[in-house]
């Protein structure tokens, strides 16, 4: 049986490097030089915007400055998220079918994460393409947002998991576009999201979540999990991507394409 590499690799105080490493992982998978991988990571205080977003349209930059949150852009689409240590980030990157497309990402792969939450006792389900919601006392709360990419047979899906995040700060630091508010019929982002600890009414420990996610992805992909550190090549690539792309304001704030940094 082939293996599922599990990386507990994070640089919480350097979100720019952390996202550079994420792209290095994606490149390794696309090139076929890395095994199927699960990564768990966190940031201490950061706002991450999607590839198609311009930071100033999504982030209250003044609030970000005040609280010292770094604003970093990722290479996948989707929306802006606020990360602190109470938000567990997870990534699954693997080879898959040649034309699985978005449904392999947000259908097949995301289902593994939903199953992990169910195993932990939450009434979890997929919602609106790429969100994970948990039903609690008759209401549905978003606990995880995801984004992914694919090329050929390579797939990468990454997401958040609100365990114990500062939702007050989250709602202050992210701008919610008016068109979105009208659609959801709610006035504040914090009313739609909730921490797992609050839903569970107990401490949800990181190790419980990690164990459940590892077990479910091992089952879903039919692979035997093993713990590892990133390869030397991945770390070198991450350093290079950090230096020429992720450390640059043109990348993080201006929506420039990848080719601008090559």
């Amino acid at each position: 049986m082939k293996g599922l590499r599990v990386l507990l690799f994070e640089t919480p105080d350097n979100p720019k490097f952390s996202l550079a490493f994420e792209e290095a992982l994606w490149r390794s998978i696309s090139r076929g030089s890395a095994p199927p991988t699960l990564r768990f990571w966190r940031h201490r205080n950061a706002v991450i915007v999607g590839y198609f977003q311009r930071a100033e349209e999504e982030v209250n930059m003044e609030v970000a400055r005040e609280v010292g949150a770094e604003v970093v852009r990722r290479f996948t689409g989707g929306g802006a998220v606020y990360h602190d240590l109470g938000d567990l980030l997870w990534t699954v990157a693997t080879r898959g079918p040649p034309s699985g497309g978005p449904s392999y990402l947000y259908g097949f792969l995301l289902e593994g994460f939903v199953r992990a939450l169910k195993k932990l006792g939450f009434d979890a389900s997929l919602d609106n393409v790429n969100d994970v919601v948990v039903e609690h006392l008759g209401r549905r709360y978003k606990v995880s947002g995801t984004a992914g990419t694919f090329a050929g047979e390579a797939y990468l899906l990454h997401g958040t998991l609100l365990i114990d995040t500062d939702l007050e700060l989250l709602s202050k630091i992210l701008k919610v576009p008016r068109a979105k508010l009208a659609d959801k019929g709610v006035s504040d982002v914090k009313f739609r999201v909730r921490n797992l600890r609050e839903i569970a009414g107990r401490n949800v420990e990181y190790h419980e979540v990690i164990s459940a996610v590892v077990a479910e992805y091992a089952k879903l992909l039919g692979l035997e999990p093993y713990f590892d550190v990133p390869s030397r090549a991945e770390l070198e690539m991450a350093k290079e991507l950090y230096e020429r792309k992720y450390s640059k304001p043109e990348w993080n704030l201006m929506r420039y394409p990848h080719k601008h940094f090559e």
Partner: protein, 118 residues
Amino acid sequence: MLAPVIIKVGRRVAGKGAFELKAKKGLIRARVEVSGGRIAAVRFTGDFFMYPEDAIYDLEKVLEGSPADPDAAGRLLEEFFRSRSVQLAGSSVDDFKKALMMAVAEAVGSEGAARAAV
């Protein structure tokens, strides 16, 4: 009372338009600048999903320099999606088309107003 002349003589007369559209999943924001009857710049931003991602820059390039006409721009966008294997998740070609056409219409209107003021 005379209307204030907002565009100085010698400066490029340009019109700007923007439209924000909420798709099933994701927000599509189109910003358009027109000048001399042509689309000078287009930017699509938002939290949508497009694969491959960099197709968005190709689409903007195709639109730039084309006639500043909502219908023509809409047709060009449709043709782009037809001829390329671009995939969307949570939004449709029509969503992008509508956002673009509304932004172009606004930009054309504002260019007209700017010209009238010169």
